[in-house]
Subunit: 694 residues, 2 copies
């Protein structure tokens, strides 16, 4: 099995990467459009590149410091010697996923706009292809990282399965840290630019969105790329790798053979191939309605999901044998839960359904009522995802034989996470396509293309909002399951350390260290959200001031006679977001160590559970409130409640602005936070066992 | 000890009630003021009475249904036969606490306004006396209920201590249900009237607050009484009784003697006497500054707290003996934590400190930024209370010998809750005094009294906002500790039931039923907040429409030539709030039973822990966001950022309106929710053990 596994996993990884490269080549062949479009695209591209370059400079310092810390710990025997290097590779591949995704997105935006001149389907194909490059880069690099380390540890260092998985489970910390930097930094950038541009441009100066006279307009477009593309790529790379390796570790702990480790990797490999097939189904006819467009995307994802569901059954049977075939239902429950959470998200945030329509109606009585309404939509929307995750956890645990052996049950939960993420190649493609379409719309507007082009990009963009919302539900669901699997891996890890079992023997919820850990952990997503929202606020205020300054000082700007200084806004966003991203990341890395030292391993488990649960709720709440406000505004813009420019619309714009950091900064960052906490805890497990008070 | 205990506790209860009656008499002797004042006060009083009468009609139906359910359960041997009757008495005394508090508040409002004609100190004395009546009624009735049942069960039915406490722990459900009705119904009433009055009166018609031309102005004042007074009285009655009886039950479980049961009751008794002494210190000199006013209130509460801290040491030593005297520090840690949480709340919500001042500054960039800012202040403010509660739990657990015996540790946690609530007599007085002062201001305005009077009532009212904020922090902290104690009592209860121990043996956080319970429980405060906020929204919209209608249809209203139809607004608020209060209460009663049947006792423990933790965070978050917005608005009104009427002020008003249901409806209701969930779980424990799946 070991050689077969190495072969299949590395081949699928390479297959995904080749498919991504091939798709990227296809995109680049499309024409970029007029000179003006080229120029705008180049500004966006250079802004995004400049941002990433400076981000990486800061990240490198962080990684160097942690590398040294891990090196010292390895030297002291608190870690295996591979960990510091694995930490670096995880971070590197995560960053690379984001970088490649962003690179292709910034190449595809003007091409999408240009393709829209020739029709909706052409535009969809270009934008969706760009999303696919991102999706398959993420899964390809993820599986590649896992394969390389597996081959190294198995065939070069000749470790046993237990040693391999025990080492690999510590590898995720690099990816998670990088992801948090990317998500928080990018999230602050994109929303500071967006809020800043809207507040002065739309509200004060009364010029339309994406108007070239707005000095923050390029920064806004850069933000889409560094936040929604690069940030999301790093984020999902981390989820993907985390779910697979924690499942490997739990499998080996439960079944003590390599087959248990092989299963999640093989599911991931099969998932890649099914996802590639799915992408070929995404196309639409000219003049397609919103519903048909969404249908064409759903066709691709649904086909992939069904294919994986069908193929997983023989796979499980083949790998684990007849005695454990029921574990298949754990995988299936993850897959189904992902789809259901996506649909629940759509119900609460799409303007086609009651919640968002009712929310739009609350604008009739003013701004306060639409804010209250949006907050309650988000809070209420937590119920269904919680029930879905609850049922998924119970099903996954018990079909896997959790009643007889707890470790089998936990393995089942981890496989549910892998099942949910198995379609990542294509679901991420549908998700990452959104910002490309959004950028294309911006370019069409700024380059003064025909109105019909903007209409087409708007159709694509609006669809992107729906897929982004479902994608977010999906990211949150998989993060929760992965975090639970990582928590279980942490317990395994502590048990495997000398003296650890005694410290973790009482995980009872009535044990005060566990209870206090729960409180502290549950508090973290609140604090984290507060910090990131404040960061957006501060950064946005600096943008507001700069835009106001330019409007005042650059004569002829409002008449279109002088050009705005776009670069200064980009620079400002870059500076503030990079400054603001450091504290949250440091908190996420330091807190598990401090809690561990103070409360011991049992307290850490409490903290991880608390953070996962409250993080899940907060992420759903914030994402869905944000999504509902955004679409309530769009719904009003479609002409109801007085339409654009009415007092209802103004109230809805305030709601949307509040929702921006909710859904695009704080919400998504929480997903990474809860996994990074687990990863850090796992890496520092040996230290905590040795040095903790309890 | 048993007779001594019965004597001391019933005597203190009677002492508190006599002090309350004596104070009430003193208040009634004050003159009510001019005819106009009398008329306004009478309208408020009759509106409040009418509301309560109709509320009780609905509550009676609910109680009758549950009484029958409990009766059937008792008949089937799933409950002791006392429970249905105790359920009724708990509900009755809780309702009575609220009723008396409200009665005296509606008698004191015009008298406070009238006393303010003669000076600030006179006004303070009347308003504070009204608060004292409420405070001592609550603690007196609470201890009376406990004493009566203790005497009955001990001397009439001759039960053992274990049987007594095991029966009494089920008694809280009546008080909790009544409290939830009162808090939710009253909370919706007060905020619907407030928001409705503000939205049309202040924002649309541009008339000042409490202007007699506003048809919702009486409803607004009625709301203060039925929400902030009657609701709070029922709420804290329930906390008080819940903390004492759960501590009795845990004490008997840990030490198996009557002394362990006596301790919490005796602390409560001592607390009453110390609180009475404290009230005599509350007075101020004429022309006192805000700080001096606050100082005079703090003098009273601090003196009481220190006195209790000093007297508890010999008390513990006397009751529990030398071997357990360290439990004193558990009580002390609760007392200190209550004070610290209050101070943390003040820091985050008072305009004297940075968070609220910075929040006011965010209004410079518009409504969206002050909303984002307020949400993040609230979220960030969860950190310190969590740390305080965490330290308190650990200290209380370990000083009580939790390391050797878990049940001693849990007893310690419950004593921390009793310690925190021991000063309730006076802290509730400082808290309940606020709405009286608020009403007095309204009456002064409506009756057209001299400006200096309104200035004095404003000074009292503004102080009331600070004490209300600290009171809320205190209510939340004690609710969390009480809920934890009740959770421990629930575990004891299940263990005492045949077949229960096996079902609850694995409380490990990695047990999937516990984990799923945590998820479901943590979700409840989110759903609950959403429901109550929506209720406020709906009720407020109906008020808005009615006020708009009156402005349009009653000719001469705006010129002061015709009178508004106040009664119709009161009636509207009454109807909608009563309609809206039913669903949340039913959810709170039904969910624990459903979760119990589906997930078993271990799942219920998970649910209770999840609800307590997320409820604590949500309550702190929502209360403090609301408080910060409220005071940011007041700070701007003091003249900064453009002062009253500026665009900053308008943004701040929106923030304040959003904060209204946050801090006065959803936040406080969560406190009761988390305790009611435990109470219901305890009552249905035997059923769940028999019938649950897991």
């Amino acid at each position: 099995m070991d050689k077969f596994l190495a072969l299949v996993s590395s081949l699928s990884a390479v297959f995904a990467l080749i498919f991504a490269a091939f798709t990227a080549k296809k995109i680049i062949k499309f024409p970029e459009g007029t000179e003006k479009m080229k120029k705008i695209a180049a500004s966006i591209r250079s802004g995004a590149n400049a941002y990433l370059k400076r981000q990486y400079k800061i990240v490198v310092i962080f990684f160097a410091v942690i590398f040294v810390v891990l090196g010292v710990m390895a030297f002291l025997g608190l870690l295996t010697p591979y960990v510091p290097f694995a930490f670096i590779t995880g971070g590197f591949f995560s960053a690379l996923s984001g970088f490649i995704g962003m690179k292709i997105a910034t190449l595809a935006n003007s091409r999408t706009a240009n393709a829209c001149i020739n029709g909706l389907n052409k535009g969809l194909r270009v934008a969706f292809s760009a999303g696919s490059v991102m999706g398959f880069t993420v899964v390809g690099l993820g599986l590649l990282d896992i394969s390389i380390w597996f081959i190294l540890l198995k065939f070069v260092f000749k470790l046993s399965e237990v040693e391999i998985t025990s080492a690999m489970i510590t590898f995720g910390m690099g990816a998670s840290s990088m992801a948090l930097f990317a998500r928080v930094g990018g999230g602050i950038f994109t929303k500071a630019a967006d809020v800043g541009a809207d507040l002065v441009g739309k509200v004060e100066a009364g010029i339309p969105e994406d108007d070239p006279r707005n000095p923050a307009v390029i920064a806004d477009n850069v933000g889409d790329n560094v936040g929604d593309v690069a940030g999301m790529g790093a984020d999902l790379y981390e989820s993907y790798v985390g779910s697979v390796i924690s499942s490997c570790a739990l499998g080996v702990a439960a079944l003590k053979n390599i087959n248990a480790m092989a299963l999640p990797i093989l599911i991931a490999a099969v998932g890649i191939i099914c996802s590639v097939f799915g992408t070929f189904l995404v196309k639409t006819k000219e003049g397609a309605t919103q519903k048909q467009l969404l249908g064409s995307l759903s066709r691709g994802t649904n086909f992939s999901a069904i294919l994986i569901a069908v193929l997983s059954l023989p796979l499980v049977y083949y790998v684990l044998g007849v005695s454990n075939w029921k574990i298949y239902f754990a995988i299936l429950s993850g897959l189904v839960s992902g789809v259901l959470i996506g649909q629940a998200t759509e119900y609460f945030t799409s303007e086609s359904y009651k919640p968002t329509r009712n929310l739009a109606a609350t604008s009739e009585t003013g701004t306060a009522t639409i804010i209250i309404g949006g907050l309650s939509v988000g809070m209420l929307s937590t119920l269904i995802p919680v029930v879905i995750i609850a049922v998924c956890v119970l099903v996954a645990y018990f079909v896997s034989g959790g009643a007889q052996s707890a470790s089998m049950g936990l393995y089942g939960i981890s496989l549910a996470a892998v099942g949910m993420l198995s379609t990542l190649g294509i679901t991420l493609a549908t998700d990452a396509y959104g910002p490309v379409a959004d950028n294309a719309g911006g370019i069409a507007e700024m380059a003064g293309l025909d109105k019909s082009v903007r209409e087409r990009t708007d159709a694509l963009d609006s669809l992107g909002n729906t897929t982004a919302a479902t994608g977010k539900g999906f990211a949150i669901g998989s993060a929760a399951l992965t975090a639970l699997a990582l928590m279980a891996s942490y317990i395994e890890k502590i048990n495997s350390i000398e003296g650890g079992a005694a410290k973790i023997s009482n995980l009872g919820i009535n044990n005060p260290t566990v209870l206090v850990g729960l409180f502290v952990g549950a508090c973290l997503p609140f604090v984290f959200s507060a910090l990131t929202m404040n960061s957006v606020g501060r950064a946005a205020q600096s943008v507001v001031k700069e835009v106001r300054r330019q409007f005042k000082e650059i004569t002829g700007l409002m008449d279109g006679k002088a050009e705005a200084d776009y670069a200064s806004c980009v620079d400002l966003c870059t500076k503030s977001s990079l400054k603001e991203m450091v504290l949250p990341t440091i908190i996420a890395v330091v807190v598990p160590v401090v809690v561990g030292l103070a409360l011991g391993p049992a307290g850490v488990v409490g903290m991880l559970a608390g953070a996962t649960i409250s993080g899940f709720l907060m992420a759903v709440f914030m994402s869905n409130s944000g999504g509902a406000w955004d679409n309530a505004k769009k719904y009003i813009e479609s002409g109801v409640h007085g339409g654009k420019g009415s007092s209802c619309h103004k109230s809805a714009v305030v709601g949307d602005t509040v929702g921006d950091p909710f859904k695009d900064t704080s919400g998504p960052a929480i997903n990474i936070l809860i996994k990074l906490l687990s990863m850090v805890s796992i890496v520092f497990a040996a230290l905590i066992v040795k040095a903790s008070i309890f």
